[in-house]
């Protein structure tokens, strides 16, 4: 057998030099007369250790990382192929605490399997979910998802099973499944990692969704900023078609299902489901008023289940292992696991899939091991550009939809962005407004105009012009945007602004609330 090395070709690994490492491995192998087989995987999600490689040994896989291309020759000389010593040797990846402490269900295969091998996919439990769905039929499939407690991982947290039931009960000549892979939130990359590391799980999840609601066609709307994901998923779809995992009579059943990729064009608002549908239809991504719900009148006016990619990729394991196994994990009304993405200025940055319920403090201090810069953490933004900035005083908040909402925050798509004490929170608040102004679809005045006013008012506060009055004005403006916006872009952008003002007033040159109460 050819000596084998597993190497992640996740875009994150490539950004840190995986290509150069691959070239170095092949060259080092040639020099030693070895015909090395490189298996392309996705990433395990430990990005501070990328580029990471793994070699199979009698004691299981042994990982190395971060690997530098210039080290590869020496690693070979030290017996790399047998798991030999090197400063970058990490031992068995499963034993690395960051991985060991996870509950990997949705990401069970990511970083482990050859991402484009159906055999590997099957050998690691692939298609058990779809086989189960075929065996129990559409209604029982929908009910399994209802019972699992799965809620939408795109941000709004709507129960997936209930959405599917609505689409299943709608009668129409045609229905659609739409996968939302627009993943525009800063700090998030879970959708991307699945597409690049385990694309068949998305294909399987969408096929199950199609079977469940009676749709034979699906679209995956991927943001254009993800060329690698688009490429890998397109290849996976072609492979699945050839193997009859997509197309007429999938896996020999009586169900038909096929998929098409659509590429976005750099508009954040197109992650909003109705804007996304407009975009697939070939229009400007202007948000539609609801009702009608997409479940009744969605793509091309037909009943459509729009789901986030992680929601869909979590479906196969739920069908395979049963609703109870999933529902038994979690906290309150947040059931199952969430792929939490630790990003920005944090030492252990990457993907951490865990049952709901860990506190924000555990995530950033313990799992994340503090900042990458080594300075104290000052603020953490959870849930993307519309998420609140939390100070250390709120680090006891458990990762749970309701707990974050109760503190005027949101978990969104699970992005956690850490900032150290050099952050200027007034600048972050200004950026939130500026981003909203750039990305507004233009339909409602509070969002379109209010965001630009918001930038101006913050600038005035920072210049010291009538601070108290402009502070009041900004608070009012946030309230107007919150109440008068059609979608969460204008409606939630007050979260990062108001939280910055509330918890970090000194950055705006405003008195701390307690101090002002005292004098």
């Amino acid at each position: 057998m050819r000596p084998r090395i597993y190497l992640s070709r996740d875009a994150g690994s490539l950004a840190l030099g995986a290509d150069e490492v691959e070239t170095a491995i092949l060259a080092a192998g040639r020099q030693r007369g070895l015909d090395i087989e490189i298996v392309h995987t996705g990433s395990r999600g430990l990005f501070w250790l990328e580029p990471m490689i793994e070699v199979p040994t009698s004691a299981g896989r042994i990982a190395y990382g971060p690997v530098r291309a210039t080290d590869v020759g020496a690693m070979f000389d030290a017996g790399l192929l047998d798991g030999g010593p090197h400063a970058s040797r990490l031992g068995r990846p499963e034993e690395i605490p960051f991985l060991k402490r996870q509950t990997r269900l949705t990401f069970a295969r990511c970083g482990i399997v050859d991402r484009l091998s159906l055999d590997d996919y099957r050998a690691h439990g692939g298609f058990r979910g779809l086989e189960q769905a075929i065996a129990i039929g559409p209604e029982a499939t929908v009910e399994t998802i209802v019972e699992s407690g799965l809620r939408g991982r795109g941000g709004a947290g709507f129960p997936t099973g209930i959405k599917w039931r609505t689409v299943a009960q709608a009668s129409a000549a045609r229905k659609y499944i739409v996968c939302n892979a627009d993943e525009g939130d800063s700090g998030t990359f879970a959708d991307r990692m699945i597409m690049e590391g385990d694309p068949f799980v998305l294909i399987e999840g969408m096929t199950i969704a199609g079977l469940a609601v009676g749709a034979d066609k699906g679209f995956v709307y991927i943001r254009s900023e993800y060329p690698h994901a688009i490429d890998v998923l397109a290849r996976a779809i072609a492979i699945a078609r050839r193997a009859n995992c997509l197309g007429k009579g999938v896996l020999g059943s009586r169900y038909d299902f096929d998929l098409e990729i659509r590429v976005g064009a750099g508009a954040y608002v197109c992650g909003e489901e109705t804007s996304l549908l407009e975009s697939i239809e070939g229009k400007r991504g202007v948000v539609r008023a609801k009702p009608p719900l997409p479940a009744h009148k969605g793509l091309f006016g037909l009943p459509t289940a729009v789901n986030n990619l992680v929601s869909l990729a979590s479906v196969p394991v739920i069908l395979a292992d049963g609703a109870a196994a999933y529902r038994d994990l979690g906290l309150g009304r947040s059931r199952g696991t969430m792929p939490i993405q630790l990003a920005g200025n944090v030492r252990h940055r990457g993907l951490f899939e865990a049952a709901f319920g860990m506190t924000l403090g555990e995530l950033v201090d313990d799992i994340g091991a503090g900042t990458a810069s080594g300075r104290p953490i000052r603020a953490v933004q959870v849930g993307g550009p519309l998420g609140a900035y939390f100070p250390r005083a709120l680090f006891d908040t458990p990762f749970d939809y309701e707990a974050f909402a109760a503190r005027n925050g949101l978990i969104g798509h699970g992005g956690v962005v850490v900032f150290d004490d050099t952050v200027d929170m007034a600048r972050q608040a200004r950026f939130a407004m500026e981003f909203c102004a750039i990305e507004s679809c233009g339909k409602c005045t509070p969002c379109r105009i209010g965001s630009t006013r918001g930038v101006e008012v913050i600038d005035r506060i920072l210049r010291g012009e009538k601070r108290a009055e402009n502070h009041a004005l900004l608070t009012d403006l946030c309230e107007t945007m919150r109440l008068g916006s059609l979608c969460a872009l204008g409606g939630f952008v007050p979260y990062p602004v108001t939280s910055s003002l509330t918890y970090f007033p000194e950055d705006f040159g405003l008195p701390a609330p307690f101090a002002s109460a005292a004098d």
Partner: protein, 158 residues
């Protein structure tokens, strides 16, 4: 490095024709035009409009709504710097300032020698490898000013 063709109507028609049968063809069509020519040539707008059976104003509205579509040809290379929060937390603003100083152009501008266009991008999904950028189709993470200079130097010499 992407090789773009110079606009010509016949080629434009070919590109457009490949998509007319598709449902909701506008975005795939415009992406294909931009991939071929590097931007959406003004002359292509009425052609797209008639292929899709919509007004020119509508096509123009679509082109201007989406940040990706350029209305002028880009430089030989395009450097997209991430401006979003995770990259900000790792010093992305300083990288941006350095790029602007080194290239002496603003956002969405091209150097006078036509070599580099500098574009902002809001998240590349490389937030655990911040600050991040994309140079043509190559992703770059853990940027610092030294790596940025090296990248720009390579492009200047290529």
């Amino acid at each position: 490095m992407p090789e773009f063709e110079v606009w010509n109507e016949q080629r434009g028609n070919e590109v457009i024709a490949a998509f007319v049968q598709e449902e909701g063809a506008a975005l795939p069509m415009l992406h294909a035009l931009q991939q071929t020519f590097g931007y959406i040539p003004r002359a292509a707008v009425p052609m797209v409009a008639s292929a899709l059976n919509v007004s020119r104003a509508e096509v123009h509205g679509i082109v201007s709504f989406y940040h990706d579509f350029r209305e002028a040809p880009p430089g030989t290379h395009v450097l997209k710097l991430c401006r979003a929060e995770a990259c900000q937390s790792m010093g992305g603003d300083a990288i941006a300032t350095a790029a602007i100083a080194e290239l002496q152009i603003g956002w969405s501008e091209t150097t006078p020698d036509g070599r580099i266009t500098l574009e902002p991008v809001f998240c590349l999904g490389l937030c655990a490898c911040a600050p991040a950028a994309m140079l043509d189709d190559k992703v770059v993470g853990a940027l610092d000013t030294a790596r940025l200079s090296a990248l720009l130097e390579n492009v200047r010499q290529a």
